[in-house]
Symmetry: D3
């Protein structure tokens, strides 16, 4: 049986992701599809941005299930709309933050987030605690360099992230690193090697490839989230959104 | 100085709230104003409903601050949009769930939620843990009677809630009860008396009057949420929402 | 209805507090009264001092309730006698430490204590954990300057506290500061401004005005602590204290 | 070297304890001495009673150290004055609640308190959490039979406690029982046998003999509490207590 | 690239597992190999049994890595030797308990263990807490029917497990069930259907297929456990075991 | 009654321990006996080493109980085989890590481990969390000097440990130090004095003398671990170990 994993990038900006980004995850029995939002923010760097991304993420999730996807991955480290999407659909919905945080705990006992902006610290703290992983959360480190100065220069970005990763491994005793932005796709190996060159053999997690493969693992196991915990929303009027009818 | 506390009822249904509901909270130096949503669900009973209520709640919060309100209260026990609103404005934004849970902890050491629907259990669990109050959370009890059968009969509703409140006091050792729906406004006293008649002297918290007065307390103390923790969102394009310009 | 909030300063030293200190909290329907101890220590800076302050604090609480007060505030950041007073009376009894710690958690996600003496660290740690707030407690910082050198110079004291506050915001990621001594009354605004001047917009809590207003909020809401959790002590002989008869 | 362990029974009631009660703990190199209070309650069953017992307990601790005792045991399951006494003296001060709770955790993974009055539940909960043992605390069970009806009939008392102990082992999965009143001295063996007769092989801890022997263990190891954590109180005036001069 | 996942069944009993048991997990690029122990217990139902299984499990892990396996799965819900094997080898080593507990937390917020023997409760409790998942652990339920009476009758076993699973979902609010014995292979679907027939839509996790696929996911992602946390053991003499030379 | 405490040093290296090491613990009614392993590692510095030490430690425990010992102490700070030995025998089995960690919590509120190798950090972290003491665990510090360079020079070792102890007291706010290697026997007093010379009056725990005396305390109190929590293993075939018959 072939799994179709649908990735929703919960922003309206075309060009940030290409379907080729997910190519390395594909197998003879694993296919990836992709969608963007029509309503929402250009990027996500705050609770405000997240809030605006959720309604259309839910719509995309419902559409993907109806189109025959076997699982959904929300392509943002804040896991926006994870619980609401799980209520709306029955196929597995995975967030890269939840998935990477659990796997990092398994591999390294304690893990740290390494990302761009210090302002995300309380948001990540809140998310990790909601996932029940506070006791395994070693720390948070941000490069605090304006993104625009650095995103065009992936080498410089990787080096800056490696410096922060090394610091949190040494000071906070992290045993695994979760890269805190899905835009860092492809940098994990470089950072892992930089740490290893200093004798720090610590896994660095690129959450999107992991989460796509984990979604496939759940599909192959016949597992999904609990509909007892995430039941279908009750039927009611909704003003201002063109949401597919959940109760038809 | 007179405080103006703006209450946002984050649903689109007219008639659920009247400004008179907040009358008992008013004082010579405390005024309450009120708004509903234009975009969002008819009522909130799921993560899905919450997600759809947040964008327009943020808009209402920004408008209220610009209109001169001194603090904002979100009138729903799920505290939808609390963090996002705090990013968007500088005046205090309070959620009744957070406020009632903290005050209940102060008054009763451990508290329970008593509400209508069992399906809200994981949502409340998640919220309480995000507020750092898991160790003070005694339990959750729901009457599990269809709301439509009972909301027209406040006496029957009060009695059903009192039965569940008594049970969680005795079995879960709750020292305070938080009523888990802002629609229960006015029932706290009746339930408290029913418990006291059984020798169980436990405060029962009607969260909205408490939260309005707490908002006033913060205003009078010159306190608001930390803008270090809830910084203004970064400027970016937003598609599909008519949000006031935060960066103008 | 006018609330009468009775403040007990749990030391025997006249002159430390004047009724004027509480003037800014008064409103047309909120009055503050005040008492000192006759039996107890000159000041409170240890568990030993606290222990000696509690019996007469209880007496003052019983007297205040009998004199018609609607709520009691214990004017010391160690909240001495909070539980025992709650057993002895039915009107709300609030401690500034408990109140400030809960409000700080609400406003800043995580909070730090900033105070004079490093020796109070384990005491505050113990208190905060007893309030169920350990997971929101970011840190503790003390100026470690002899009090006598500095208490006559409130400017110097404020500056020293601001340095420590800044440090715990940056290093421990506190989102709110609780001033750890009720003797710092009036310094919060200065410290908050000093932090803001460094771009750290963090609320600084002066616990006594907050706690008086919170006491009023509880009175107006008809709420008090749970007598199920803090029941009246059983009747028995007491040697060596002239305690009002609780069981008469 | 002979250890002298001084037991302070922190009440004013003569006859509750005899020095013979401690006889079984004595060894060729372990002697027990004993004192009662002159100022304080007749018995301890509330936070109020505890508060009134602490000042004279401190005095007795200081006197015992000056009289040459090597360690002090506070003979009440609420451990009244434990921290304050540790500040006042340098020899080890032990509380039976703290000692028994730690040893019960070691022996049974999780433990329950079994005692007479249900009203002590929040007090014990607070104490156990202050000792950092919440995660090992399985439950609390009280016989809820008026003490006066039963204390003259130790057989009946033992049977009632055994019923509750059995219940908390089965329902709360306790692996050890701490008897929650030092007045139950001598009942542990009977209750342990009653449990064993039902196939529940669970240690039942009589805290006073354990704590006396643990005090001796500390003395023999040259260990005491940390004076860094429990420093000598600062010198100051004290009104209304005839406390030995700590700073002479 | 084809992953070779080596499953070690850490007992000496031939016939308990066949390579066919793992057939459903295989894919065009995923192969499973298998080994038993030569030194160890006939089955594992205690800490004692586990301890005796670990040394030869380590040997099997070292051999598997040298034979070219890409990851190792320890086929016992107690995860015996997980940390020691991770020290000894560099390829991923997974335990079904750790893997299933993390995935159950992701899918159901809180999970319960359902197994045969009540005696495993403290062992599972200890393991789950070591994995940092205590706050997501809802409960433990055992069928308490002698295994020998039931293991030949998988239908009866499935029914007995379903009864306990239903009970822990309803009473402990578990949102996912982890089957607590790798010998229950194949029963998950039946139990899940029995729960769903009662309206309880809760995932039931058969840990071995999940763990094999998770091992493959890690291999495909290039991830393994942290050698910083699980470093190669220091070289030293070992008496009485024929362990492959780790330091050659 | 004389207690016989049997110490098992869980390594195969003769000469590391002499019976004289335990001499200072002996009393007229307390005798210590001692054994080494025949199967196992030369020393213990990893999970791998521990795993290889456990089977023969269990054998020694069973033999000691049969030879009439009243309690068993496992002479290694990793407490190898503690749970398995408790299943195998009925007399108390104590580990120095568990005992020292609990006593350190009692004496100093929070404690740190100070030891030789940084690699033990996750192992100690895991052990402490399994004992339910995470909230009292202040930190871990290692001297990171090759053991061979320093073990012949106990003065240099003591000085290095004192430096690290001082650091964790000041930075992590530890109130007690647990020496993290049983090979440090005799160094506690020197380190305690070095700390005191800096004004840091913190107990430093030499775990073996403490644990032997604690074992005696349990024997004298008639206490042992719970056989409800650590039941006798079920009877089954064991291959490759010559274990005494537990079920004969």
């Amino acid at each position: 049986m072939k799994s179709v994993i649908h990735v929703i990038t919960p922003i309206v900006t075309a060009g940030f992701r290409s379907i080729n980004d997910f190519e390395p995850c594909c197998r003879s029995d694993l296919e990836v599809t992709h969608s963007l939002l029509e309503i929402g923010p250009a990027s996500i760097e705050s609770e405000f941005d997240e809030a605006l991304s959720v309604p259309d993420t839910i719509r995309r999730a419902i559409e993907a299930e109806r189109a025959g996807a076997h699982a959904i991955v929300i392509d943002c480290m804040g896991d926006p709309g994870l619980s609401a999407c799980r209520e709306a659909v029955s196929i597995p919905v995975l967030g890269p933050c939840q998935t990477a945080a659990h796997v990092a705990t398994m591999l390294g006992h304690k893990f740290s987030f390494v990302t761009v902006l210090d302002r995300l610290r309380p948001m990540i703290d809140h998310i990790v605690s909601g996932y029940g992983l506070s006791s395994s959360y070693a720390g948070f480190a941000a490069i605090n360099i304006p993104v625009l100065e650095i995103l065009h220069d992936m080498d410089k970005l990787g080096s800056a992230l490696a410096v922060k990763a090394r610091q949190t491994v040494v000071e906070d005793h992290a045993g695994a690193i979760v890269l805190g932005c899905t835009g860092f796709l492809g940098l994990a190996e470089k950072i892992e090697k930089a740490l290893a060159a200093d004798g720090l053999h610590v896994p660095v997690i690129d959450a999107i490839p992991l989460t796509i493969r984990m979604a496939d693992t759940l599909v192959k196991c016949g597992l999904s989230h609990s509909k007892h915990i995430y039941p279908l929303p009750g039927k009611k009027a909704i003003a201002g959104y063109s949401m597919p009818d959940l109760w038809g």
